[in-house]
Structure formats: C-alpha cells, structure tokens
Point group: C2
Chain length 288, copies 2
C-alpha cells in the first residue's frame, strides 16, 4: 500500500503559533492560565493543554485576575476589552491573518462601506470579525443569501479565512449587482486554498481518502466535503483509534489530509496505525 | 396575434442624448460638423445624421477647424485632447455613464490599482476607457482570460456599460484569487440589465422573439444571444425590411426588444410591418 500525505495537510502557521504560545504560557506565566474559549478546534490539543494546566473559560468573569490567552479565532472588540480589563495579563494568540481581516473590516466600516462577511455566522472567527464590521454588518454564506441582499452604494467584503474559494467566487459574483462599488479584501488564508486544492486533487487520485481533524473544525469539515465530492471512499476521523481496517480492503493508494488545526502528531499517529494494518510506503508531500 | 414590446426595449438615455445633441448641432453649430467616429452603433441613425449634414470622421486631421462631436462611447484622453486642440469647437456627447466609468478607471489607476476592464477590447467604449486606466491595464472578456491573470496586490475593475451581468458575475468571481484587494466599480448601465432581463423573460414566454438593432451594436448582439438561449425562434433584424412572414407561421405571441442604440422609430416600423402581416394587438411594456 502507498500512503500519500497531501500538500499543506495539517496544522497551519496560525494554529502552530497559538499552540506554542499556549504551551509556553503554561510553563512560564503566572497561574492560573486560561484560554478564552477553546484555543483551537481540536479536542486532543485542548485536552493536552488542560493537562499542562491551561483550561478554557467561556465568560469574562472567569478570566478575572488570571493570565488569559485570546484564541486563534480572535474575539469581538468589546469582549476583548472586557477580558483585557479584568485579566491579570492578556496574551493575544489571534492568528495574524485573522487579525488583518479584523483590521480590514474595521477600515471598511470606517470608510462608510456596508460590510459583508462571507462565512459561517456560528463560527467564532466570524463572530469576532463581525464586532469590527460596524452596526449594519451582513453575514452571508451562500449565493442565495447574497442574492437576497438590498442594494447599497458601497459594499465592503471580508471573508472567513478558511472558507472554500470556489464558493466565495460565486458569492462575490452574486454581490456585484448589489453595489455601485464592491470592495473585497480577500482575507482567505493561502495555506487553506493550497490545502483544499491538494486534497481535491489527491482524493481523485487514490482508492481511499482520509481527512484527519476535529469534528468541530469548520475547515476540516470543508476538506471532508471537498474530498467526498471527489470520491465515495473518503472518511473523516479525529484520531487513529477511529480507523476501520475494512475501509482499506483492496486499496493500493491511501491519501491523507488534515485540517488547519490538526497537529502533526495526530497525522503521524494515523500513518503509524495504517502501517500496522498493512505494509506501506509513505510519500509526504507536505510543504512541497 | 399579440405583439409585446419588452421593458426598456430600444434607445437608452445616453444614446438619446447624443442623438439630440448631434441633430441640434446640425441645425445650429458652425459648419462643417463632424462626429468623431460613428455617433452610435446604428447605421440608420448615422445615415439620417449624414442627411442632416453631420458626417463621421476617423482621424484628428479631418477634425481640424470643424465643429466635432465626441460620440456616445467616448474617446481615449490623448485622442480627446488632440481633437480638442485641432477642432474649432468640441461638443462632448459621451454617455454620462461612460464618463463616470472613465473617472472610475482614472481614480483606480491613480490609487495604484492594476486596472482590469471587463469588456470587448475591439469596442470603442473599452478602447476609450483603457486610455484612462493606466499603462498596465488588462482587458478581459471571459473567465478563462481572468484565470490566466497574474496575482497583484490591488486590482481595480470597471465594466463595459452594456456587458451581460451574468458573465460579469463569473469574471468577478474568477478575479477573487488574483488579488489581496479587489475593488470593483460596477459601471454596468442599469437600463441595460433591465433590458436584458426583460428580453430573457419575454423570449421564454412568446412564440417568436425579434431583436431590433444595428449589427455593429455590441449590446444588441448580446440581447440576440440572450434571446437565442431562451428560444429557437429568435431573429435579429436591423429594419422592418428584413422581416420574413414565414417566421411568424402559427405564432400567437411575438416579442420585440431593441438595443440601446435602436431609435424608437425603427421599433415602430417593425411593429407596423407585423400588423400588415396579420391582425394584432400591441402591448407596450417599455418604461413600465
């Protein structure tokens, strides 16, 4: 069997950075140390952090007098300021690409644009950036929602960093007749696009495709959706324990990708388990 | 037989204005009076103007010491200035929507955007606005051309005023991954969109669809294309003389639309000829 790990599979720069910041704080910062919300959308990493003494909290009051880490998805400005005021120390692990997106939304709102966020209104990143986008912000996640919008003179757009490019292209098209001026900050994370393209290509080229990552991770869910479009034999797992040997009956080539919040060690675990099932060679296309 | 004239069929505000300006100049301005290029894309109107003593010229030298009318599609700035310097008097009949598009292109180029014009590179309107769009202007007219573009930091877009909205939506989508910032001035003429939508709807609802207008008129050609997508029995004619009674065999409902440069009297001629073929009632949806 041949196991092929897709380009850009797994942890992105922003998640890696947030995880390092959190583990560093666990060792060095004044106790207690909390993350505001779960640091990243990966239960295994959140559990490891808890083991290192860094638990997630959900309210500003719980953050009082503690060291508080702002998670990779960021926070709306009013919550951010409330945490800052109550916490003993605030450590900002917001992904730099998300931070830029928040600045873009704030700029557009300040310039009088009706801000549209393309993304999932239930995702913490979208909820955070919405706080920067002015009182009349509109969140759309489909061509149908975009088509229902009223027309405005100036429409400004930012995008959930891990959205699917092809869907964003269609939504941007549908926004064209909604404005005299349509100003789009393409805040899509480039690593996300590369990861999605590589997953789509690999899924079409193997017998079985595995998508590894948190079930609560939006970008992992999008990868699973993209792979399911390319092959019937695609499976989304959080950990190696979920692998079922029957999935690989007769498979000569197995592809693996992982979401932006999936740490390398979970992907390595999956590979190791596959090799236990059957002799295999591993081709690692990551960052190449 | 029922004859239905589509909403916004025929001459638009900009063409009507240019035609009025030209006939007024024919009566009042100092001779000779020329238009720089054909005033509008309708041979019958151009012929009428010639009869009134206003002929088209193609070169700056021909414009020397004459009264010169700038046509509805506008002129690139260097040609405009050359005509202005040589002519005895310049009368600007550029469509105000085209004028705004030229200002938008100039603004975008001045702000450091790589300007993209969505339109037909052989159309005089596109050639005129290209002169305002900076030295690195890119003209694209399809998703494939947009997809071939290099990525730039800031991409600014203006659109040929009479383009098809659905094609522009797809092209704008394809431009999304080409820039960190995509700033689109939606310079589509609203009357054009309404005319296209009304033609599409009517063509799907009648037995025969007629599209009336100059064969050299890009927007009339687009109407013909849109109607041909909706019905097999659609015909593009310039004048009533081209009508073939055989087209209307067994037809109970006939739809008519006309391009933005098709004067009302040509549409009235077509209706009058149809009524000669067969008794008919006329439903006029224009401006309604």
């Amino acid at each position: 069997m041949e196991i092929i790990i897709a380009d850009e599979a797994g942890v992105c720069f922003g998640v890696k950075r947030a995880t390092e910041i959190a583990f560093e704080a666990a060792g060095e910062a004044e106790k207690p140390v909390f993350t505001f919300g779960e640091l990243i959308h990966n239960p295994q990493v959140v559990e490891k952090l808890r083991g290192a003494g860094v638990a997630p909290v959900e309210t500003v009051n719980e953050a009082a007098k503690a060291t508080v880490i702002i998670r990779s998805h960021g926070l709306p400005p009013d919550t951010y300021r409330a945490v800052e005021a109550k916490a003993a120390r605030l450590i900002d692990a917001t992904c730099p690409i998300v931070k830029a997106q928040q600045h873009d939304a704030e700029f557009l709102a300040g310039e009088g644009y009706r801000v549209v966020i393309i993304g999932d209104r239930n995702h913490p990143e979208v909820q955070a950036v919405a706080g920067y986008a002015g009182p009349d912000v509109v969140i759309v996640d489909s061509v149908e929602e975009a088509a229902r919008m009223d027309r405005h003179g100036k429409v400004g757009v930012v995008i959930q960093t891990t959205h699917r490019l092809d869907e964003c292209e269609e939504i941007i098209g549908a926004l064209l007749p909604k404005a005299r001026e349509l100003r789009v900050f393409n805040t899509l994370c480039n690593a996300t696009s590369v990861r999605q393209d590589a997953a789509r290509e690999l899924a079409g080229d193997v017998d079985v495709m595995l998508i590894v990552g948190g079930r609560n991770s939006a970008n992992t869910a999008r990868l699973a959706e993209i792979c399911a479009e390319a092959t019937d034999r695609s499976f989304h797992v959080e950990t190696a324990d979920e692998l079922d040997p029957a999935w690989f009956d007769g498979a000569e080539r197995v592809g693996i990708t992982g979401g932006a919040s999936t740490p390398d060690w979970i992907i390595e675990d999956v590979v190791a388990r596959l090799v236990e099932f059957e002799d295999a060679t591993v081709v690692d296309r990551r960052n190449g």
